[in-house]
Structures are given as C-alpha cells and as structure tokens.
Point group: C2
Chain length 268, copies 2
C-alpha cells in the first residue's frame, strides 16, 4: 500500500477524541482514519503523569503496528504528559492537541488575556501555559481545571441548569480577570459549547483545539506530500478497550453520525 493511502491514526482515553475525528472528517474528507479509544481505563484527566504516559505509549504502539501515516494524540491529558515519549518511539509525524489549540487561541485574542480550561492533569502539567507563552510571550494566561465537565458531557447533561451552575463556578475566576478568549483544553468540552458561550458572554471567543488540530494536520499532510489521492471512499475504523456497544451508544453524540466498524482490543 502507498503510504499516502494509510489512515490517520488518532487516539484518546475514550470518546472525547471523536470531536477531533469529526473535525478531520470535515476538513479532510478524503482521508481514512483509524481511531483508538482506551475506554476500559478512561478517564486519564484525573490520573498521574506516569500512568497516563504508560497508557499513551501502549495506544501509540498499537496504532503504529497497524500502519498509519500520521499519529494524532487527541487527548489533551495524554498530549500534555506523553507527547514527547510517543514522538521518541517512531519516525511517523506525531501531533498533539495542545500546540494547535494554543496557536489558535493566540491568534484569536485581542486583549492578550486568555483563559484555558482542561482536566486536572492537563492544567497541572502547565503545557498550555508553556505553549502560549512561547507563541505569545506578552499574553496573560489564566488556567483552571474543570473536572466535572467530562462526566457532565459523557452523561448527556451538557445543556442543563446543572451544567450552567457548574460552568458559573469554574469560569468565575477567568471572567473576573477579563479574558476575551477561552481555550477548550479538553476534547470533551466542545459538547458544552452552548452552555460555556452563555456563561462566558458575547465578549469571549471560544477556541476549540479539535478544530485547530485538524487544520494543523492538513498543513502537515501538505508539507509532507502525504495527502490521500485514491478516488475510493475513505475508511473509518474504531478500536476500543471496553465493550464496542458502549462506545457506539456514547460516541454518536461526539461524532455527529453513526459509528459502524468498532472492534474490541486488549492493550495489556
């Protein structure tokens, strides 16, 4: 098989990375995708850097063995703790979601006051702060972790009074600082976008790292002459570590269309 015909490999702790898959499908409709969701061990956001790094390496190796042309670490926590370790394992280009998200936020801000929200692990790593400070050294970055947003999104409570109440508590310290840009540093958060917009108000631009990552992927494919040119329809395949039917049920809200080919695998 021609390398250009190989799929884009994407992995995440569970469902969240499907927001990245959705953006890739929209921006690169000819590309095949091989997705891995580590649903038997989700979530990563509350776990230690060493454990997240170990899990990220196992997922990366599984996708690399199957043959992919680019690898996307679509989980912010795994990008924050494990990107370098994964890059050290392979000659295939490896992209995280932190760098593209930070770049998009730096482009969006007018006042230079940027809020970042993510899991406990992502925020504690300081990776978004570091990325933003290297792209926009004059920006003021305010970061808070929002651990209840993942379960709210996964349980389908995205547009409820409860979600709004939780968002008010989490965003208050950022709004007090007068941010004009809010960077969603977790692939689950696009599902809460309506609630977040309402609480943050019209003066705050919301930036989604899923969208930014797909745009960076398009640039990388062009730069490396790796775009798929085959005229046949692309293939979308999904690997999961817990039951395929649970992934199918939960995943369709993230992806926005049906999940067909879902296969169980064991990472251990």
């Amino acid at each position: 098989m021609d390398d250009n015909d190989l799929p884009i490999g994407v992995f995440d702790s569970g469902l969240g990375g499907l927001t990245v898959v959705r953006s890739i499908m929209e921006q690169l409709p000819d590309e095949s995708i091989l997705y891995l969701g580590d649903t038997a061990r989700v979530p990563y956001g509350t776990k230690s850097p060493a454990t997240v790094r170990r899990y990220a390496l196992q997922s990366a190796q599984t996708l690399l063995k199957r043959g992919i042309k680019v690898l996307i670490v679509a989980c912010n926590t795994a990008s924050a703790h494990g990107l370098e370790a994964v890059q050290g394992e392979t000659a295939v280009p490896v992209l995280g979601v932190v760098e593209p998200g930070a770049r998009a936020a730096a482009e969006a801000t007018r006042s230079g006051r940027i809020g970042v929200i993510g899991t406990r692990g992502t925020i504690a790593s300081g990776e978004y702060r570091r990325a933003l400070q290297s792209i926009a050294p004059k920006a003021d970055v305010y970061a808070v972790h929002c651990p209840l947003f993942v379960p709210l999104a996964e349980e389908g409570w995205s547009n409820t009074d409860v979600a709004e109440g939780v968002a008010r508590v989490y965003l208050a310290p950022l709004l007090d600082k007068g941010i004009d840009t809010l960077l969603l540093g977790c692939t689950h958060y696009p599902l809460l976008q309506d609630t977040l917009s309402q609480v943050a108000g019209d003066s705050v631009t919301i930036v989604d790292s899923a969208h930014a990552t797909a745009a960076t992927l398009a640039e990388v494919l062009d730069a490396m002459h790796l775009r798929r040119e085959n005229q046949s329809a692309p293939e979308y395949r999904y690997l999961v570590t817990d039951a395929p039917e649970l992934f199918r049920e939960g995943g369709e809200a993230f992806l926005g269309h049906p999940l067909d080919s879902v296969e169980w695998i064991d990472l251990q």
Copy 2:
C-alpha cells in the same frame, strides 16, 4: 502466622471502598486490613460487565497471594458483575456489598417501598433487585442509576447547590413512588448523605451498604472463629495502581483519618 492474624482483604475500583474500611475499623477495631484500590482504571461503574469482571479477578488474585483471611469486594459494580467469579477462585470466604446492603434495606423498610441508587453498571446488573426480591419478596423495588454522584463526591462537591440539583433530578422518580427507604448502592454515596437526606426528606431512611457489610463481616468472623486475638495494634496497608500521593490526598475524606502506608503496584 496464625490465620486469625491475617488481614481482611478489601478491594475497590478506587477510593469508594474506604467507606467500607472505615466501617470495619469502627466495628472491628482489632482487625488488620489490606486494601487495594485500582486507581489507574477507576471508575468501574460506567464499564462493561466483562471488563469489570476481569479487573475484579486481577485484584482478588493480588490480595489472595499476599495472604488474607476474608475477602471483601467493596465496589458495588464489581460485586454485581464479579462476585461469583471471584468466589470460584478461592476457598477464602468472599463477601460482596450487595447482599448485606439489601438485607439492611429489607429490615429498615416499613412500607415495603425501597429505592436503590447506584452506578450504571450496578443498576443494569439487576443484582440489588434480585437480592431484595429473595429477602423480601413482597417489597416494591425502584432502582435508578446516578452516574454523576461519583465525580461529585470525588471532586469534593458533596454539599453544594449543584449536588442538590443533581440529587433532585435523580431522586424524583423514586420519591414519586413514595419510597420510605433509600439504599445507597455505591460506596461513594455516603459522602453525599447530607444532601441526599435533605432532598429525600425525613420520611425516608437512608441505608448504607458499607455499614451493613462490616456488620456481616463481624458475623462471618465469629461463625468461622476467625477473629484476631493478638494484643498488638492492627496494621492498615493500602495498595494502589496509580500514584500513592493522589490516593492519599483524595482518600482522607473517605476514611476520616490519615493514610499512612500506601504502596504502588501494577495489576497488568
């Protein structure tokens, strides 16, 4: 070592089982305890029966190898999906939390209208309903899953307006049925007891399976002449699959006192 001197083995997906440890310490202050929390793969409540059973067997085997005189499956989801499989592996007595909790609820009810709350996995298994129907065949059992309670308890939002709002949504169908007893079918839920009492009102008795399990354990130790009679202080040791410091930080709210001896282990 005399068998009576061996510790009680207790395992859970993470922190929740510490509410059972706390009840054992109160009711059986002379017993040593060896606890295992599978914090690298928590939670179990959203995962499939096959995955939960596999994890439960790995935890059980680890504790049995170290030497224990009784094994408590302190996670409701693991009890619901994996108790029989674990019992098939050993001659050591194995107790779950479902049976003792059901018995306590059957004793507490006057009207015979019992509400049960738990994780998605526990409620879907139907094990509480089956246990209650065999103990109290005339009881009316109403069960609902409450997946947001675990993250609310773990994130320290137990006594907040948000927790109260979530509890109102989850408990409404049970209160509409006129229950007089509410069985907490998840070891995390005792942390939400004040909020649950407030929402359920004075006419509803709350039954906690952690407390009931410790009482059953005392009966089993007496029946098998397995009480510890050594005059030295008991030992409390904790094994975890993710970082010990994360367990220590989170666990003290569950246990009600400091966690000293926490050791990392790998179950894979």
